[in-house]
Every structure is written in C-alpha cells, then in structure tokens.
C-alpha cells in the first residue's frame, strides 16, 4: 500500500511526460475537412498545415490496416535538437488509414526538418517553413446587405483572429447566380461592394481567406456557407428612358430631313403640276386675258418664227378644230399631245409629212385652188381608206384636236398676213364648190356627214352623192388638235372673224359658234375638209 502511494506521483509524472509531446489525439470533423482540402492542392508528403500561430498538423495516408506504432515522426528546427511526435491514426473508409501528428509548440520563420520513419526506413523527409503553410478557417460573420442601388450588394466579414497576421490576409469573394459564378480577389479589406450585378436576381455569396504570401503564406481556406440575397429590381432606369427619348428624337429628325429633301418629289406626287402653255404664249393670259386674237397682233416676233403660229395667221380658213367629233384615229395622223403650241408646230409638221406626201410638191408652189382641190381629193381617198368613223366617244372626247391646216401653212412660209386669210379661205369654198358640182366623186361619198346638221350642210354646200353615210355626229378631222386644257373661249374669236379660222386648243363642245354665218367661208372648227357635225349637242 505504501509502495502504491509512493508510486502514484511517479506514475502520474510518467503519464504526463509520455503525453507531453503527444498530439491530443482528436481528429475532428474540422481537421478532416481541412485534410481533404489539402489533399487536392498539396502533393508533398507528409502534408502539413498550420491552423494558427501555435500549431502544426501533419498527416499521411497508408493502406496498411492501422499500425501507428510502426511510424516515427521526428522534427528538427534550425540549429536545434530533433524532437519526436507520437503518431496517431484515424481509420477511414476502406483499408485506408490516416496517420497524423500535431505539434503544439511551433516556431515560425525557421526551417523545420520533418522525417517520417516506418520502422527503420525513412518514409518521408520534408523541409518547410511553418509560416508558409497556413490553412485557416473560413471567415466568420459574413453579412450581405443591399446598398439601395439596383445591382449592388455590400459584403462584410470578420478576419481570422490571429494576432500578428491582421494585415497579411487576402480574401476571395464568390457570387453565384443561376448558371454563372464570379470570383473576385480582395486584398486586405474585410468588406467589399459587389457592383454591376443583374438587378432583381438572387445571388449566393461566399468568401474564403488565404495569407497574402509575403510574410505568411498558405492554402485557400474553405468557402463560407453561402448567403443568398436578391438584388434590387431595376426601377424605371433613367438611362433607358433618356436613351429612348434621344433615339425617338433622332428618328424624328431623320424623317424630317428625308421629307424635306424629297419635298419636291412628294409635292409633285400629291399636287401634280398641270402643264400650261403659258410659257409659250407670253402675255397671252396675263395681258390679254386670253384674247388670242389680240395677242397675236401684239405678240413678239419670236413667235412668228414658228411655222405653226405663222401658219395660224396665214391660213385660218383651212383649219377647223373638231370639238366633239368622234373620229377614227387617222391613218397617218398622229394624235397630238397635250402641249398645244408644240402640237401645233409638231403636228403640223407631222401631219404635213404624213398626210400629204404627194402634196409636197404642191405645197411648194403657190396656192393653187386646183392643186388644192386635187390634193384634197387625195386626202379624201386616204380618209376613205381609213377605217370607219369611230364612235362618238372617241378621240375628241379626249379633247384631242388635230391641226389640219399644217399643209396649207407650209405652203406659205413667208406669208403671215391676215389679209390672205380671206383669200385663202376661198379655196375652201372653191373646193367645196367644185365638189358640190361634181358629184361624181365616189371618194367623197365615204365621207360621213350628218345630214341633220343644218348649219354645216349649208356651210358645206356640197352634196355627197352617197347618202349612205352614217348619220353620226361625226366629223372627220385630218388632224385633231390637242386640248391643252386651256379653258379660254376661242369660239368668239372664230365667230368674230369671218372666214378666218384659228386653231383652237380648248374644248369646243360648249362653244360652237352658233352665230356662225353660213358664209361661203364658214368658220369651221374642225378639220380642214371635214365638216362638223352638229346633230349632237353642241360641244
């Protein structure tokens, strides 16, 4: 009994000394987690890490069934004696055994020589500086708050509670959203503001820590538990509003510019320009109010150089403008266009060329009634050969009037006097007269005539042998004069001038000069040798 009591303190001492350098023997879940983490990044055996300023844990795995007493762990600081650490083991799944050793008194900044023996053979030998193998706990107290701006989150956390390492830490922030993960390294600070996040989305935030590598170094700690936070939804973003306003403004400007540049084009399309021969008849409308006769008398000489106008003066008698007469498109007659002056000039020329190819020779000569008569006969033949007179609603309805006296005009290029008109009107009468007497002109028979036209019948004063003419209110016109749309009344002109015919450009439908005297030289409006039908309503 006395021996036991004596022995007890020694035994206790023995126990204490035995366990002095031994590791505490606890391999908890935290250590297990860190060890697994280290397995991925460190490949030098034995794997060692320091959790704080005063410890070092080293471990290695073997598949030998768990015999820690076989191993010897020795460590030697620079310029010191070697020490030994008791190896402990932790059984893992399968036949794997994890052997570890934890040092509780460590020295930093000095080289540590670690050796692991299995029996007598050296298993591992490693030199390390403990201040370079830190594996810390994740940062604590991670808080995520909204800053009040959409797409921003403010983070803050606590640094590792290590006294001499406050300014030597490096953190990494990870924010995860559906499908994407973003990581950012933060130096030194324990708070951070995430910017440029998507508004109205949920993010999971995590942080981990590692020494910055200058004085202390180590491995990345484990991630903190994720904290979810939803960013503020995007309020009516003033930027988007301003952009849309600017874009609409630009579009309006563009459309205005286009409209202005194509203004003329658009105006033309919407308000088409009605052509007017006003520029060809200077002063006709402005000075003389449409009084063509007066205008002719006072017009400039430039007009006289135009054969059309010249011939207007010259041979008015021969010209008759069909007002409502329907007519077949003359075989060789070209319909005039809407430009009366030009038409006058052109159609006269054309018609001349077309109508009287044979009469050209005659045209050069002086006006000869006989020649004229022959020529007219030829023309009648031509007409006869042409198609039947068209229906009433024909060209003239379109207000085309053909000039028919072009031929005559050409015959007297030099003459431009009104005095000749009466003389020239005579040939018509003569012509008609001859035709009247000579009733054996079969060609003439094809000429349709309205029998009911009292005026013209007297006017025409020639009887056609054939009475099979269709009673149509048609009159042929060698040429139809184009109606330029001028609404001036020319009918008065023709009526005032006896035996003088002018070329009309307007619609005569309503302006048939009823007061026309049945003179020998009646003023006719229609084609030279064609009578005007009056059975229809006066046009």
């Amino acid at each position: 009994m006395i021996r036991l009591r004596q022995l007890a303190p020694w035994a206790l001492l023995l126990v204490f000394t035995c366990c002095q350098n031994a590791s505490p023997g606890l391999w908890d879940a935290g250590l297990e987690k860190k060890a697994d983490l280290l397995m991925r990044v460190e490949h030098e055996e034995p794997r060692c890490f320091a959790e704080g300023m005063r410890d070092l844990t080293c471990f290695w795995d073997e598949a030998d069934g768990g015999t820690p007493h076989l191993y010897r762990f020795t460590y030697t600081y620079e310029n010191e004696e070697s020490n030994e650490c008791v190896v402990e083991s932790q059984q893992r799944e399968g036949s794997e055994t994890r052997y570890f050793c934890k040092l509780l008194k460590v020295q930093l900044f000095g080289l540590l020589d670690i050796r692991v023996y299995r029996g007598e053979t050296l298993l591992y030998n490693r030199n390390l500086l403990i201040n370079l193998v830190f594996l810390l706990d994740p940062p604590a107290n991670l808080t995520v708050t909204r800053t009040g701006k959409p797409g921003q989150l403010k983070l803050s956390w606590l640094p590792p509670p290590l006294k001499y390492m406050e300014n030597s830490m490096m953190y990494e922030v990870s924010c995860t959203t559906a499908g994407s993960r973003m990581e950012k390294v933060v130096q030194g600070n324990t708070e951070f503001t995430l910017r440029s996040l998507r508004p109205g989305t949920e993010y999971a935030i995590q942080v981990r820590v590692k020494p910055d590598g200058l004085t202390y170094d180590g491995y990345w700690s484990d991630w903190t538990l994720p904290i979810s936070m939803r960013t503020l939804p995007d309020d009516a973003d003033p930027l988007i509003l301003s952009f849309s306003v600017i874009i609409s403004f630009i579009l309006v400007l563009l459309s205005l510019t286009i409209f202005l540049s194509y203004r003329r084009f658009l105006i033309k399309k919407m308000w088409p320009l009605i052509p007017s021969p006003e520029n060809k008849f200077p002063g006709l409308f402005t000075v003389y109010g449409g009084n063509f006769q007066e205008w002719l008398g006072h017009s400039s000489g430039g007009l006289w150089q135009r054969p059309g106008f010249f011939y207007l003066e010259e041979l008015p008698v021969m010209l008759e403008v069909l007002s409502e007469a329907t007519m077949s498109p003359p075989v060789q007659i070209q319909p005039g266009d809407s430009r009366a002056p030009g038409l006058l000039k052109e159609t006269t020329q054309e018609n001349e060329d077309e109508m009287l190819p044979k009469a050209d020779s005659g045209m050069e000569k002086k006006w000869d009634p006989d020649l004229q008569e022959n020529w007219l006969m030829d023309q009648f033949q031509v007409l006869q050969q042409s198609s039947t007179p068209p229906s009433q609603s024909s060209l003239l309805e379109s207000k085309d009037a053909y000039v028919t006296l072009s031929q005559n005009f050409d015959q007297h290029p030099g003459e431009g006097k009104l005095e000749d008109i009466s003389e020239e009107s005579l040939p018509l009468h003569v012509l008609f007269g001859t035709t009247e007497t000579s009733t054996s002109h079969p060609d003439l028979g094809s000429l349709p005539q309205s029998s009911g036209s009292s005026q013209l019948s007297s006017q025409s004063s020639f009887e056609y042998p054939h009475n099979t003419w269709p009673s149509k209110s048609l009159t042929y016109a060698c040429l139809t004069m184009a109606d330029s749309g001028i609404s001036t009344d020319y009918s008065s002109i023709s009526s005032s001038r006896t035996g003088m015919e002018c070329i009309y450009t307007n619609d005569y439908k309503n302006q048939m000069p009823k007061e026309r005297q049945p003179l020998a030289t009646p003023p006719t409006h229609t084609g030279c040798w064609v009578q005007e039908q009056h059975n229809s309503s006066p046009t």
Binding site: K105, F109, T215
Partner: protein, 183 residues
Amino acid sequence: MLQAKHLKILLLAWTRLGLPSPLRPICDPRVLDRFIKEARDTEFAMRSCSEGCSLAEPLSVPLTSVDFAIWEKGDVSEPQKQAQEVQSGLWLLAQAISAVRVSITSTALHSLLDNSHSNIHSIGQVIRSLNFPEYTPPADGTVHEDTWRVSSTLELFRVHTNFLRGKVRLLLSHAPACRRDST
C-alpha cells in the same frame, strides 16, 4: 577673438544638443513589406547562382525562428532586448552580405546584393526612428549569442528573408512608438 571662438563652439554645442531626433516614427508596414519582397526575390535569384556561391568560410547569421509564446513574453518583459537582438542580427547579415559580394562574380547578383545591403541599412533607420536604443556593434566583430553559421549563399539569403519576416517585422509592427500613434 578668443571670445568669438568660444561663442561659436558654445553655439554649436547648444544646437547639437538642442536638436531632437529628426526622424518621425515609420510605422507603415508597407515599408518593411517592400524590403521583405526584395529579400525574397534575392533568395529566389540565389537559387540559380552557379559561380562563387559556395562560401569559402562559414558566415555568422542570426537565428530566425520565432516562438510566439516566448516572443510575446519577451515583448512585455524585455522589449529592449528584442530590439538589440534584431539590430545585432541585422548587423550580422550586413556583414555576411558584404563578404558574399566580394566572392560572387555575376554582375546581376551584385546589384541584388547591393540592394539587400542598402535595405538592411534602411531597416536600421526605421528602427532608430521608433526610438529604440542605438545598437553598437561589438568591438571584436563577433556576436556570440543567438547565431549560427551558414555555408552557402542560399542558406544565407533564406536566413535573411526569414529574419525580416519574423523578428524584424514583429518588432516594428508592435513598436511602442507606433502603438501610441495608432491608439
């Protein structure tokens, strides 16, 4: 004339006595961090040293290992001792680097060595700025305690780097002069 000379001497003596330490305490940890970084770079460069990198004779270098428990105790009880320990260690390192500078032939390493040498002097200035007592090197040129001998330049610069990381940094970061300013 004699009185003027005397006056001049007196004036000079007064001004010298009257002048306070001009150095403001250098408490920014980034200063030392820069030195540590350069020491680390020099250590890495020494790994590629091929010519003249083995020392003719071993050089005395300070101990670098720090036990925090012991250090904290010493910080409280004998802060001056720690300062002396650091300064003597720096002096030893400066001596060793000068000796190595002579034997190494590579010019690139020369620049690094010169830089390390000037850095050690700068750290001495920083320590002086923190109002630590001045260190006087031993007359015989040898330090007997807390030293050991290295036989390669690689060892030397590893010691150099870790000495700065450990003892020097701990001394500077917990200097009373800086602590008074921060708090």
